[in-house]
Amino acid sequence: MSVSKITSRPPAPPGLRTWMRENLFNNWYNSLLTIISIIFIVILTGVVLRWIFVDADWRPVIQSPLLYLIGQYPRDMLWRIGLVLVLISFLIGVSWGVWGGLISSFAITMGTLMAVFALIPFQVAELTFSLRGVMLFNVVLIYLGFILGRKVSISGRNLAIAWFLASVIIIFVLLPGFAGSEIMPKVPSTLWGGLLVTLILAVGGILLSFPIGVALAFGRRSSLPVVKGFCIAFIESIRGVPLVTILFMFSLILQVFLPTGSRFDRLLRALVAVTIFSAAYTAENVRGGLAAVPPGQTEAGKAVGMSSLQINMFIVLPQALKAVIPAIVGQFISLFKDTTLVIILGINELLGMGRAIINSNAEFVQLQFEVYMFIALIFWIFSYAMSHTSRQLETALGVGER
């Protein structure tokens, strides 16, 4: 009897040597594989590091980093971009404090990027002392916001309102400005470019397409034939066409139908196209999730007297979304990468900016690879942050999983 007492403790975790023996060298072919992999990794790392620090010529990137970030946005109006960043940094920090884990990877990614930007250890003409200062200030601001969000109790709803107000201010005041204004003259969106445009299209497309997609998904299940028919027609026709085609059609159709002279902003056109494209896919994903919710859930909601709207909002939709988060995030990541297609409307988002920079200088044509690697890295960082958040969201919502 006393023996069982002794063995009832969980076994101690194995030491490093035991772990290695069990996992890496447990038989001869696994040992061989392990050794080959290690050799391969070492060689590859060496080659990559050598290329980055010795062979590569980073001039096309270092010479004008601001082009990649904001395009032709007037340099004497940089303070407006700075203000946008300050607003976003602060709110991201507060959100991290209030909502916790889910925002953390975005806050940390953003903070790290800006810290790297501020502390790049060599001379870059465009990175003035004050610009680096602003970047560093933003990093501090994220942290201060985080502390504030932790200490002061701010309701999620108020925070959402703050985000909404901030985006209105950013999109309608800070970035475009006012025609005729002295302090904040109008900056036409044709001058916007680089990462700024990529992010506006991606974030705007995601935020706008999500509610539209959810509405379409419900519409597709509607018992009203007209609503149902419209939603099916919309979803299927958008999904049957490549995004490039939609972008083309938008630029042409709008030109034909809008009265001459009234120029529908190019960027706005792209945003609308990206949004409806993404909405159709969101709708299909959400529909799958809605179908997976057992009918007993709706019945239980009805039985306690809830209205259909309440049942959908509080019972069906949360379960449906939970089931399709990976699919939706995957789709948002593709949307983020697909924004590169707006090149065909003559908008220089990040990739377009890279190409413009390469073509601007005969010397740089030789250095395309460096430019594309740099751009790929930026895309990867953001995509990775998104999929990381998605995995955290799944775990967070996984509580009480059946």
Partner: protein, 251 residues
Amino acid sequence: MDDQRELQPIVVCRDVHKWYGNFEALKGISMEVKLTEVVVIFGPSGSGKSTFIRTINRLEEHQQGDIIVDGIELGHDVRDIEKIRMETGMVFQQFNLFPHLSVMQNIILAPMRVRKWSKDKSEEIAMQLLERVGIPEQAYKYPAQLSGGQQQRVAMARALAMQPKVMLFDEPTSALDPEMIKEVLDVMVELAESGMTMLVVTHEMGFARGVADRMFFFDEGLIVESGTPKQIFNDPQEDRTKLFLSQILQH
């Protein structure tokens, strides 16, 4: 005074018919249930017991006849339907708890959203009900973390939180392992004794014998026989009733 209140019918069904396509599942059901009465409905599989009990809160629509609950006629007005549903709690065979919400959230959802009670008030009621069904310590767990018997008791608490006048049960113990049936029946017995009006579809004949005021035997969409438990068990009139009782009382 009290006698008069007890005589008041709370659920009235007159000649209720229900078709699924061409198949007639209910062929004219009439039943009156008075306040504080406990009614047990039993019968073979496919006889229309579930269909009938689900027409009372319009989870199924009947096509002919009248259903009146708490003085409200069940028609096509959504507001009437929602009003009736507020006054009738339902407990399902498969529990149908909301898996994404904690036990507490499951219970307070409708009181807050439908009755518009404050969160504090709703939580207080929820806690009292959890005590009543014997699982106050599970309030912040999720349904998947509970046993079947515990889940069904949460489902009862969820229905009771709306403070309904009538409780409908559709085979509440059929999906449970034998050792959990008793804990659920105990709560139902206590509920019956507290004066709740109950319509219960069940084959738990011990429960029927103990607390039912009247029993209805369903077969092929019709009420074949009804009466007090004493009449049904000791002196059934119809052959079909006798046959069915002998079959289920064997084990």
